[in-house]
Symmetry: C2
Subunit: 107 residues, 2 copies
């Protein structure tokens, strides 16, 4: 997955909100299993409507997906998107001006 400029900005804007970044972190921790919305709500201690609002943002940009298991909706982070952001920063746009003063690990 390769991001264009606008996509990269949109994704980073989403991660640029502390609440959403917390959600993503929880979901990364949860891995492919994911985490139910209610569990996220309990851990972050925010109103359900606020949480839902943020999750819908994250879904909209493809950072999070949801699957229903009976009454419970589990959220899962889209690791490939985060990878894509990292790649955008390292390759596409940003980190190439320096190949100096950094301890470089053998590639």
């Amino acid at each position: 997955m390769k991001l264009d400029f606008e996509q990269a900005a949109v994704l980073m804007a989403q991660l640029g909100n502390e609440t959403r970044l917390k959600i993503v972190r929880l979901l990364v921790e949860a891995g492919v299993i994911g985490l139910p919305v209610g569990e996220i709500q309990r851990r972050l201690d925010i109103p359900a409507s606020t949480l839902s609002h943020h999750i819908s943002h994250l879904k909209h940009v493809g950072l999070v997906s949801q699957t229903r298991q009976s009454t419970t909706l589990s959220c899962c982070v889209e690791f490939s998107k985060i990878d894509a952001i990292v790649r955008f920063l390292t390759d596409e746009c940003c980190v190439r001006g320096r190949g100096k003063t950094k301890k470089r690990k053998a590639a």
Copy 2:
């Protein structure tokens, strides 16, 4: 440089604006030499006040620094900050659920 959670959010929020991301990209391209504000303005074709506003944001979070050369102010991107964001995404917070498994917390 290691970012805490809030710093990471703040930095990504800054990169999450297309105009600012364009500024940063130009500056990355310019490398350690940097680029004068006026040159950025010409290339992006936006009002000086708007540009200045964004640059001041970028300075405020440490993504950009400025040095004056007579009448011209040159901007320089802080590569270490971008590195830090990448590291935050790969190590601290986000990318570990797949591939190389790092030490995992009790789930």
